[in-house]
Symmetry: C2
Subunit: 324 residues, 2 copies
């Protein structure tokens, strides 16, 4: 039943193209960077899609803007709601503000101050809850019931996935044909959009997911043929702690060639390499695909490889290479 | 006498255009970034010329490449030499390697390891000296005598200045007309090139220098009408410790509207703002012009302002906002 419903929900190529049109007035067309030094180190030719320069500092704005502006006026009137302490919360809040509707965000009370401030800064109304899955879902249910807001899931949602796919649609238009395309995978929204867009608009490009070894639920789920959630994952890639949903699982199963698992050391090394050599700020999650290339589990040499740099939101007072 | 010689040495507009042609195969055409959040904070419309993305991570490569490739084969045969522990040393080393000639760099023995490694990594031969001006000049004289290499001064040199001016030539072609243009000033090479290029190719644009209060020799020199060197300057903007030379003094005197002095707190605030909002890595020196806008000594509001982000070389283990 779930699988059947999920299949109907899989965005079609036209949904990604429509999403690109829809978000064009609001989202940034981010640049593609290359880096000679990193090409030399990896032996490949890399094209970095810089979603760290996207609004709110992450690709998440694409999906959120698509979901918010896709609503009818009647649907949108009472606002949107979600649970997230991360980039999706900020993205949904900004998209809602741009549409002039309220955003209700459920956030664990122990979320970092910097994230609370960011979301509040975009004008969202925050409801704090205990840091458990049960408390979060209950709080969200209550908020939705009280306000009548539309729940926009962070990743297991067709409009979110179609929106995330627009980064790849752009990347394809900004480069010649790529052999491979790599994106990080947490809940799978970005990788779903990436793989659908590649399958539709650059069918000879093979898509890989990159995942921390310490939060490898997508790897294990695709191996097992069913969703196996992560349990208490611990990784510096704090954007990739969530587990796949039924819709993203189904899309990844169909369109992703393989999930590459990356050690914490390789994530850190990749992040530092991007900062030092490219002079841009990426968050640890965004460095996971380059970490996979450095890890060397797979022979990528002399290939043309697209890499989605998913975001750049990092606490500058607590960088992961600092002893604290 | 010095002044007379200096006047003859001032690069002409055609020298900047020739420099742009000469370095085109080697240097990067860096992008111009805008940032809504920083526009809101300053009340101006800012166009950041991202020389932190330049080869070796700083504008210095433009001047060095111009100076190295301008030499005749005979002049170049014995290599180039300079004294610098910073970006000019790395830039000259890379330019020399690209031309296939030796580079000899005189560096104080207490220079940071990271800078020694960078210069050595470009294949230069390093001579260490005691960290005094006298020791440095003596060591350089000795190196030049032994090797026959051509001394390329870091800033008081026409080809260096013409090369640095190419950043502004590009910026002018990448934006509509600017009201103001700001660049940091240390030895004055960048600001000289910037002001010459603006005077020639965008004459309605007024050029300002931005300088740390703690190393304000350019401000004092232009006030006094003669060069007054900094004595033991202490600022986090470690690229701006040097004092003007006769040639850069003469150019600044003619073409720069005013030198703005910036407090350490405003430099730090500007640097952090660029990192957080633009997601790019700049060194403290590069943040000085934005610091001047934040300082508010001058009314820049609703103006279109170009800002040269001079470089991005920073020790990621010792960021200036960290207590150490």
């Amino acid at each position: 039943m779930t699988a059947d419903r999920s299949i109907q929900d899989i965005p079609r190529p036209a949904d990604i193209e429509t999403a690109a049109e829809r978000i064009r007035p609001f989202a940034r067309r981010t640049p593609v960077f290359t880096c000679t030094a990193i090409n030399v180190i990896t032996g490949a030719t890399l094209f970095f899609k810089c979603e760290n320069f996207q609004k709110v500092g992450a690709f998440k704005f694409r999906g959120a803007a698509n979901a918010v502006f896709k609503l009818s006026d009647k649907q949108a009137a009472k606002g949107v709601a979600t649970h997230s302490s991360g980039n999706h919360a900020a993205a949904l809040s900004l998209a809602a503000r741009l549409r002039g509707i309220p955003a209700y965000i459920v956030m664990p009370e122990n979320a970092p101050e910097i994230k609370k401030r960011a979301v509040a800064g975009y004008g969202a109304q925050i409801t704090f809850c205990e840091p458990t899955l049960a408390a979060r879902e209950e709080a969200l249910k209550k908020v939705v019931k009280q306000t009548g807001a539309v729940f926009i899931h962070p990743y297991n949602h067709p409009a979110i996935i179609a929106g995330q796919g627009t980064a790849t649609l752009e990347l394809i238009s900004q480069t010649d044909e790529l052999d491979y395309l790599l994106a990080p995978v947490g809940g799978g929204g970005l990788l779903s959009g990436t793989s659908l867009a590649a399958a539709a608009f650059s069918p000879r490009t093979q898509v890989f997911g990159a995942e921390p070894e310490e939060a490898d639920d997508a790897y294990r789920s695709l191996q097992a043929g069913r969703i196996i959630p992560s349990e208490n994952p611990r990784t510096i890639a704090d954007g990739l702690l969530t587990s796949l949903g039924p819709l993203t699982f189904e899309i990844l199963r169909r369109h992703v060639r393989r999930i590459l698992r990356v050690s914490e050391a390789d994530i850190l090394r990749a992040m530092r390499l991007i900062w030092e050599r490219m002079k841009i700020i990426v968050e640890p999650s965004a460095a996971v695909p380059l970490g996979a290339l450095l890890g060397g589990d797979f022979d990528f040499r002399s290939k043309r490889i697209g890499v989605i740099l998913s975001g750049g939101n990092v606490d500058l007072d607590r960088l992961p290479w600092q002893k604290s």
